[in-house]
Symmetry: C2
Subunit: 339 residues, 2 copies
């Protein structure tokens, strides 16, 4: 029993007395095969417990039924939710998610070599920095790609993005309206495209309101990095009255640190904003003012665009840019009159 | 350019003037092929941009380089972290994760049919209820399976589990030592094996300390279900002084609801315990007393056992049971003297 090998089309062909190619043809729609052969193959297959092999079938249909998703364990903490939604949507379209992990050991080139080898039907990238050269590589291999919250200059690949600039400008304008002048920007890790974009948007939005040379600190999107970088800023010469965080989890760290170790009330003594709209934003203890990414719509668009490009590779690349929803929490207020 | 098809071994064979099988043999270690043919195939492959196809290779080596992971979107909220760790470990072993989503539309049987079709090297199940019959099916298809935090009676499949009973008994004993007599058990969704097991452990541990007929409420592992079921209990005739939650996220909901809508102090007025050890447990606002699952060790064991069984299918099934780590938070205290 344990030494039993999987039943292959070869075994069925042998037992049924037909060619292996005849067995394959039975399981591929639209291929010609005689009624008699078909009946014989199906009966033999049932007897032996043979299941048509999606992978063998793929060699004929050129569809593997798999979509590669490129992830990084150091990416923004909202990505488990994005992955879960992508997985659900792709399942509904009869595509399976095949995960590729981008970390220090394996660079993007290694990952791409593996992806060509598996001949996936398409790729959705939640991590990695892409340039026109890597996108050209996708075209050479005839594998469509959709970038999630990242773009390539020249728009050579389709992208689904949240409008970070619009959202961050909205948050900055509210803080400015409330009279804040001493800001801290708490950025994400410098190797993250999303972190980089959000940082640039914050600097630009602040500058448009006349706030220049705003101090910047870098975290890694984690709660602890929010806490620790905020504590550092409080011990500097430039104590902020408003903290603009590049994600919600760091903002939650800032709130907890401010309350516990500096006795500050939120928002009376300190205003804090985040980005993403993770679940904890809505918890009573936080009620964070933030921008919620429309993950449902963004993941649906990513899957729809990808499937269209699998069907019609000549489709031009497109950008779909979604506005985030403003979440009016309870962590932003007028600057304290202290002078 | 856009209408270009992927280069296949057939194209290489044709251009090089050799058989398709000769092309395959070049890319499979240990297969005989003449030096001349090999050189010709490699030169032609390079010229045409052909990459050896992992899937074609799999038809020969009978390894696909893929491990199926069965997930459910309604499973415990710690599973994104489990998936991330599994993905990292399997990547290191040169295996890719192929995701299968178990939800209402597709039952386990449907998922298994798909899994046989993809001929994965093995399966790790984070969701679904398995019986001896479904395990027998894995043996028929010669695909090893490791169950994660779930077991089959008769131990016909390997399992990696956290010792829920030990952890929950420890929490119950502390609450009992502090003099609590009015408990609420906040269970997870009844269709979850983990929720069911944790509920049974809580009832048994309470009973061992003489607490019988303890009220039970059912949530869905979410923050809101923790809040709402706790509020219901507070409006009943049987107000608890200690809440035993089947996961941390519900416990956090209980804490926020108790503080905000009932003005209770934790732990002076109410003791709360959870299970899992998610990140938010350690946040200043919560400091939840709970049991942390040793995810690093559990995921490593799951991958190691699976790879061993792929190599040696005759290996007997094994259970690896890990003790959780007691996290001494700040949400458990003596029962308030109110009578």
């Amino acid at each position: 029993m344990n030494s039993k090998k999987r039943v292959t089309s070869y075994d069925v062909a042998k037992a049924a007395g037909v060619s292996q190619s005849a067995v394959s043809r039975v399981y591929v729609e639209g291929r010609s095969v005689s009624k008699k052969t078909k009946a014989m193959v199906l009966a033999t297959a049932k007897e032996l417990g043979y299941k048509p092999n999606a992978i063998a079938r793929m060699l004929i249909t050129k569809r593997s039924g798999m979509v590669a998703v490129i992830l990084s364990s150091r990416a923004n903490l909202i990505y488990p939710e994005v992955l879960s939604l992508l997985n659900k949507r792709l399942s509904e379209k009869n595509e399976r998610v095949l995960l590729f992990n981008l970390d220090d050991a394996a660079g993007l080139d290694d990952i791409l070599e593996q992806i060509w080898t598996f001949q996936v039907d398409g790729v959705i990238a939640l991590a990695a920095h892409f340039d026109n050269e890597s996108i050209e590589n996708f075209k050479v291999h005839n594998i469509p790609v959709v970038l999630y919250n990242r773009r390539v200059s020249g728009h050579s690949a389709s992208s689904v993005c949240c409008n970070h600039e619009q959202g961050i400008r909205q948050l900055v304008n509210i803080l400015d309206d409330f009279g804040h002048k001493r800001f801290l920007v708490l950025a994400g890790p410098s190797e993250s495209d999303v972190a980089q974009e959000r940082l640039e948007c914050a600097i630009k939005s602040l500058s448009l309101k006349g706030h220049n040379d705003v101090p910047i600190k870098y975290g890694d999107f984690s709660y602890d990095s929010g806490r620790l970088t905020f504590a550092e800023a409080m011990h500097s010469n430039n104590v902020p009255t408003a903290v603009i965080c590049s994600n919600d989890t760091m903002a939650i760290g800032v709130i907890d640190e401010a309350r516990k170790n500096f006795g500050l009330r939120i928002p009376e003594d300190l205003s804090v904003v985040g980005f993403d709209g993770v679940n904890a934003v809505f918890w009573h203890s936080y009620q964070l003012t933030t921008i919620k990414q429309p993950l449902e719509q963004m993941t649906k668009a990513a899957v729809d665009i990808l499937l269209e490009q699998i069907e019609s590779p000549e489709n031009p690349a497109q950008l779909r840019l979604w506005s985030g929803a403003f979440i009016e929490g309870n962590t932003v207020g007028p600057v304290r009159n202290e002078q």
